[in-house]
Structures are given as structure tokens and as C-alpha cells.
Chain length 212, copies 2
Amino acid sequence: MKKDKISSAVIRRLPRYFRYLNDLYHNGIVRVSSETLARSMGLTASQIRQDLSCFGGFGQQGYGYNVERLRDEVAAILGMNNNHTIIILGAGNLGRALIENFPFRSSGFRLTAAFDIDPVLVGTRLGGVPVYHVDMLQSYIAEHKTDVAVLTVPASVAKSSAALLMDCGIEGLWNFTNVEIPKNGHENVRIENVHFADSLLTLSYMISEEKL
Amino acid sequence: MKKDKISSAVIRRLPRYFRYLNDLYHNGIVRVSSETLARSMGLTASQIRQDLSCFGGFGQQGYGYNVERLRDEVAAILGMNNNHTIIILGAGNLGRALIENFPFRSSGFRLTAAFDIDPVLVGTRLGGVPVYHVDMLQSYIAEHKTDVAVLTVPASVAKSSAALLMDCGIEGLWNFTNVEIPKNGHENVRIENVHFADSLLTLSYMISEEKL
């Protein structure tokens, strides 16, 4: 797999490829042409062929792609077989929505614990996962391999919480706080920001465009 | 404003431009060069100049961009001044997180009502907004201009809820259900899907890449 040649635009599309291929697989589809894949994904067939060739895609003239093989290849590139572990900091509404409903397993992550300061929550379990006090964070991470932390704390404590997590050696932050997290020397930490507003504004554009 | 020439890739970047420009504005910055904007956004200066020229950006040789003017122009293109109204269908954890914490106003949307089937919630107010029974949806939309609906219902009722909303004449769906919504004849409806998994898988890729 020629990984270092994959551009960031292709990487951004890889999760979508995985999603579509996984759907096809679960619908019993064995092979798919770049044309069919393109139509359902809203891309062009040549873009798909180009994207997939970046990591040695398995397309064959007159056959197309083997769905399962391609899906598994994409999954491997995405690191889905790496037994990643993840914790959640902040078990408010959003944190709880993720704990109880988000299928971490399907993305290759094992959710191991949640942390909050609410005395009503601390000591309970949510979605099968123990909720600890934030004071326990450092000792927990010292004792349990933890790759990624979900940041669903209030914006006011986003930076301090992120700093604490990075000091503990976390590798990735999945940041829902809408606060720009400074790395402050932890340049190797990867941060993925979820900005709901970006998505809503895209929709705003689309419905506004209609009226022009 | 040469709107119809804006490519979808540029549109996807517009909310980010808005976010960065708005931050600069609130930090008292009056003008910014494409180089500075590029550095903070992780793009190249030439890409920024090209993007902004798509809608007649205001860059001036040796001066750069006027932050407030450019921000307002981006906001206008995004439809943020259109007094969009929005309702939420599904006041579970995720719905409540959005109702109580998401700044709809800052994106140009007025949240007017929430709908659920939970008898504990129906008749109450959440984040200043009334919660009605889903049975009231049709009559509510008939009486109140409603542009967009947020879909935060369980996946099992995602398609039927979306169909009902589209029959009611909603223009946009902000879909958090992870279910692909068929338009079934409502081709003019715009759907923006939020796929948390796509974001987590991007992070998975980034931390896996480290180890290669």
C-alpha cells in the first residue's frame, strides 16, 4: 500500500468510501464498477479510479472492484484494525448521546471510560461504560492504554482539559467543543474538530442558492 | 457576486472562512493578508486568493483583505442574513445538546420549536423553545414558516420522519441519524448529513499513520 502518496483530499473521502462499500457489502453486493460507485457517491468514475489507485485499488477492466476486498483495504488504511481505545471527557447531553448511541466498535474503537465532574454521574455506568471523576483521569490513563479522547466538555474548560489530556500522552483528540485547541509543544497530537456550524452553514448556502 | 461559478469545494470551505474571519474580527483585527489567513487555516495563500476571487473577494495588493467586509460578504453568500427558521425533531440527548448549546443565531437560524413523543418532554420548554408532540408537526409547519428541520430521531424512524417533513414542504434537512434519506420526488429538498464516523475515521487514520 503506497500510503505516503495519499493526499489529504483523498483521505477525507476514504471514510465515505468505507461507508458506501460497507453498505454494499451488507446488501450482498460482491462487485461494483467505478461508474456505479461514482453515481451513488456523487463523484465521477474517473475520480474514483484515481482515488483508489492511490493505494493500489483492485479495479479490473470489465469486472470492477471486489466490494469486500476494497472495503477491507480501505478499513486497514484508516487504521480500523488497530484496536484503538477511546475515552470521553464530559458526559453532558452530547457526551451521553455519543456514549449511548455512537457505534465506536464499527469504527474500530473500544470506548473504555467516561469522565465528568457531576456527582450524580460519577460512579455510575453509561452505555456499559464506567463514569469516573475527572480527578481520576491521569491515573486512569497511566494504567490503561488510551489512544484518543473525545472532548465534550463545556467550552470554558476545553483548553485546560485538552492540555491535561495531552500531558497524559493521549495521541488524538476528537474535539466537539468548537474551541481551537493549542498544541503547546505536543505537536505530535492529532486533533480532529467537529464543527456543527460548518455543516449547518453549508445547508444554509444550499437553501439560499435555490432562491437566487 | 458571481455565485453560480462557485465550485462545491469552495462552498465547503466558506464556513471555515467565515469562522476564521469572524474570530479575527472579534479579536479586533481590521485587515489580513492572504498569507496570514493561509497560515492559520492550513491552506496556501494562492488557494485563498483563488477561492475568494470566485465571489469577487476584496483583496488589494499590499493591503490584503478588510476582515469585516470579507466576513460579511462570506456571510451573505452563505445565506446567513436570510432569517432562516429551524425546528428540531427528536429531543433525546443529541437533540437536547443542540437545543441547549448550539448557537443557531450565530449561523443565522432562529430555532422555533422542538418535537418529540416523550410525554415527559411534550408541553415543556427546552432552551427557551417549546416542545410539541410529533403529531402537531404538520399543523405547526402549516402555520409557521419553517425552512429547515434538524433530524435527531432514532435511526428506526429516520426515513418516515424525513418523508413527513418533506411532505410538509420543508426545504432543508440537517440529518444526524446516519440513515441515507431518499428524496422520493422531493428533489428540491436539500439534505446535509452529519456523519460522526467519517470524522472519527479521519482521526483514526491520522494516529495510525504516525506508527508506519
